[in-house]
Amino acid sequence: MIQMHNVSMSYQPESTALTDINLKVPKGDFVFLTGQSGAGKSTLLKLVYADLTPTRGQVLIDGVNLTRLSRSQVPLLRRSIGVVFQDYKLLPNRTVLENVAITLEVLGWGKRDIGKKVFHILKRMGLEDKVNATPLRLSGGEQQRVALARALVNDPKILVADEPTGNLDDENKEAILSIFKEANNRGTTVVVATHDRRVIENSHRRVIRLDKGRILEVSDVQG
């Protein structure tokens, strides 16, 4: 599903964000990427959804080499990947429903189908009474769940999340993790970048540890 071969990434010639990364995440897997701030977690995730192109090496998603992808093919790839951003990236002047609907509008769904599907996922997230609220009127945990709903509403093949539990309390962390697990159980490959040890320890999943842009260790299912 996700493969990286000798991937290196530099933002500037003298500073390297990732060095010689070799990685395989099979279909339906659930892995954590961990490491200190600046270890390269976010850069690695951005390579997966083609927000960045590696300076060296190859990134393959379902056998498709992203380094050879034309500009017009990138949107098609991204439609099969749900992304939860560290800063949520919710549009403040649109309602919760409209924020989640964006993913389906891009796919060309009809208004009625969008309404049904979005309401269904918001219900799963426990946000059915916040449909018409704007993000600024929601708590951090609720905003994170809206971002998750937007990422999962089209049943993506891959879900990547960058520090999804960063600013949340334990209760909300638990809620978010159970949504990840549920998505994984439905067949979605999940890659979560986090430096939260408790989240990793409680999840019993494979962990890839990064340090200064290199893979330090890959540990099997924890727990």
Partner: protein, 315 residues
């Protein structure tokens, strides 16, 4: 893995086809305008103000041009005969002159008519005309030229041809006046073109920068759309429609403001300034120019949005 996940499958192709997509993008554009009322109002206001200045300039230019064209009606050529031609010959001569390229109107002035005109001009001083008979004043043809033949070279060429007609002994036209008038018109047009160009550049600069700022304010939205898999066209289309709508709204508002200014201050300004006493004040812009201003607004909105989007859409 419990279920095979098929990824992004859609149940219905609701927005496919030209009209389906256009309807989706238009409704998205309208929703964006509603959600960003203040920013949209600033853009529309800037376009309206910029176009109002441009159309005020256009109004003044069009009126001055019309006035100057009115003056050029005075470009008249008079051909004198040594002897008054017989009535039958007059018709033939008028026909030959009318056949020359550039002739707009030909009027025969007989010796008697010339004397009558002189007498009416010297009303109250008739004693000066004592002993003068109509034979003293020559018969003539007064010729008005059409607008395309009023420049120096055309008038000179016309006069040369006129002199070749038998019976015409002398031709007079305000050579010096024609030269000065044409120099003035050339200068006037040059100034108009220069000022118009500067004004157009200023308007383009102000409007494109305003649109750039408003699009910059929504760069997160553009980025997000790209990250959830929207194509460049999908991201840009609603913004371009917004640009067109803002441009059209700005143009209509500027024309309404111009109409207001026209009726409040400009309609009788011509009389007030005494520029052209014959005219009944300044005239409003003709329909073609009004359509041009609206089209200009639409193009401003479209081009301003398109160039700004190019910078912020990285998909």
């Amino acid at each position: 893995m419990s279920k095979a996940n098929k990824g992004a499958v859609r149940p219905k192709l609701a927005q496919e086809g030209f009209f389906g997509r256009l309807s989706y993008f238009s409704s998205r554009a309208l929703a964006n305008l509603k959600q960003n009322v203040f920013v949209s109002a600033v853009t529309v206001g800037t376009i309206a103000l910029a176009l109002l200045i441009a159309s005020l300039f256009l109004l003044v230019y069009v009126n001055l041009e019309g006035m100057a064209q009115g003056w050029s009606d005075k470009v008249q050529v008079t051909a004198y005969f040594d002897k008054e031609p017989a009535p039958l010959a007059v018709a033939a001569l008028k026909g030959r002159v009318a056949a020359l390229a550039g002739t707009a109107k030909v009027l025969f002035v007989s010796q008697a008519e010339a004397e009558k005109r002189l007498r009416s001009r010297l009303k109250g001083q008739e004693s000066l005309l004592e002993g003068i008979t109509p034979d003293v004043l020559p018969a003539s043809l007064e010729i008005s030229l059409d607008r395309d033949h009023r420049d120096n070279e055309s008038v000179a060429g016309y006069v040369r041809k006129l002199k070749q007609i038998q019976g015409i002994t002398e031709v007079q036209y305000g050579e010096e006046w024609v030269k000065r008038f044409n120099s003035f018109m050339n200068l006037f047009r040059l100034m108009g073109a220069l000022l118009g160009s500067f004004l157009t550049l200023t308007v383009l600069f102000i409007v494109s920068n305003t649109i750039k700022l408003t699009i910059y304010a929504r760069k997160d939205e553009l980025e997000l759309l790209g990250l959830v898999g929207a194509t460049r066209f999908f991201i840009k289309a609603p913004f371009l429609i917004e640009g067109i709508l803002q441009g059209a709204a700005g143009a209509v508002i500027s024309l309404l403001a111009l109409l207001g200014c026209y009726f409040a201050f400009l309609k009788n300004a011509g009389d007030f300034l005494g520029i052209n006493p014959a005219s009944a004040g300044l005239s409003f812009l003709p329909a073609t120019h009004l359509a041009g201003v609206v089209l200009g607004g639409v193009l401003l909105g479209f081009i301003g949005s398109a160039t700004s989007l190019k910078r912020f859409v990285n998909v």
